[in-house]
Subunit: 278 residues, 2 copies
């Protein structure tokens, strides 16, 4: 698309609970980008991954993804094992399922497994992640913070993520768990970082420094660059966040965002002539 | 404060679940503005108001409000009864407790009871309302809309309220019930109206076309005046809201907002010399 060519593949970042029974819009977007290749389902985020693989196998199977393998590591030592690494050989994509984002970063961060996954992506493979697997995509990830209550300055815990998408912090299950407060708290700390809150059954597809929204919910983009006042530096940990002049975009399926200019983009116009009347 | 003098009393608009056991910051603000006068507790919003009066009697009693009476109307015919109207004689304030905002507007709207309450306020009395009693203060009130899920264009139901505060739409239990989506949906329909979402145990005190925040939570102000694009007019009822360039302020206790300019205001500086060091 752009003149600055890159071979990096798409990132598909999902707010959790993507549809696995109906139209499967999001899983279909993953499947289409595999071109028939192998998908590795990384269930590393989960403490008890039983049943994850079977559920995805059924959903992806219906979408023609027949070469699906599970990658699980119980502990960090296993990331050195050659049979684990072998699972990633020739893979066209990796899909991180949900659980605890700290399990992903702590178990595979800076290991041969992570290096191999990153290489797959750099060579054009798809990286997808849902829920915890979504949060872990950013350089700084949300780890803990109250949902569905007033945001207090001291509530938030963040940690380094895999750093695949830069200057963005991702939150998931966004509308469903009432997380606008904690996302605002995160960007208040560092307005350089754009806050991206993704509803369930909703995803962003990041390609060439921009993303598009797919799925049934909304994506909230919180831009604190123009903030004129906040109490983030003076307040005590139990203080309520105060912040003036945040810019907020609510994006639905088809909408996009340029990650460099931070400007939202309307859905692309259909190229095949006029649409049929409603 | 301003040269354009008005005798209207303050409006104290509360996001629900105000503290009744501890410091009672919000109820204290109500009590202080009664100057020892009678407070009428209007439990009209509730279908089953048993116990409301006793809880408020205990809390307000501890704050020195000894002349507290309950006003309940089972149905609209009762609004004509002279003993109901007599409860409001000489009252220094009225407090609407929670329940269903449509019960308030449908049972007392355009009745002698409503006229008398409005007169108390015009002559300087306090009007307070919590939860449903908060929503009903605006000219158009939120009646129904999904909480804690993706906002769909057709989700929202609004109705005329008591119209005490103009060009504002109020939502309550805001962080706790994940209501940013529906408030955005409301202002998208009419950007003239400012969206004000109030957390639990949090209130705005409206005086002279401005308000200040008190209590432990946050107040979210959603200003759609600068919105550059939205799908509100074209979308189908089940479509997800899309809206670019919303201005959002998060206000904590002490912060204010000028309702004419729509600009937030920092807490007033202490007038009694420097604060003690932390």
């Amino acid at each position: 698309m752009t003149t600055a060519s890159t071979t990096e593949g798409p990132l598909i970042i999902i707010g959790g609970h993507e549809d696995k029974e109906g139209d499967k819009v999001i899983l279909k977007a993953v499947a289409e980008r595999l071109n028939g290749g192998r998908l590795v389902l990384a269930t590393i985020a989960s403490h008890a991954p039983d049943g994850y693989f079977e559920a995805y196998q059924k959903a992806f199977g219906a979408l023609g993804v027949t070469d699906l393998v599970e990658l699980y590591v119980q502990d960090r030592a296993e990331t050195q094992e050659s049979d684990k690494l072998a699972l990633l050989e020739g893979a066209a994509g990796v899909f991180f399922s949900g659980g605890d984002q700290l399990r992903i970063s702590s178990q595979i961060g800076d290991t041969p497994i992570e290096a191999r996954i990153r290489q797959i992506w750099r060579e054009g493979g798809v990286l997808a992640g849902t829920s915890a697997g979504a949060s872990v995509m950013s350089d700084t990830m949300m780890v803990r913070g109250a949902s569905a209550e007033t945001h207090r300055l001291g509530d938030l815990r963040m940690a380094p993520g895999l750093g695949l998408v830069r200057d963005v912090i991702i939150d998931q299950h966004f509308a469903e768990r009432g997380r606008i407060g904690r996302l605002l708290g995160a960007v208040a700390q560092s307005p350089r970082v754009l806050g991206v809150g993704i509803d369930e059954d909703t995803a962003i597809i990041v390609e060439s420094d921009a993303f598009r929204v797919i799925g049934s919910g909304a994506v909230y983009v919180v831009d604190a660059e123009g903030v004129t006042a906040s109490n983030i530096a003076e307040g005590r940990p139990d203080n309520t966040l105060s912040m003036f002049d945040v810019r907020l975009h609510v994006l639905a399926s088809g909408d996009g965002l340029d990650l460099i200019t931070r400007r939202p983009q309307d859905p692309p116009k259909a190229a095949e002539g006029p649409r049929s009347a409603a």
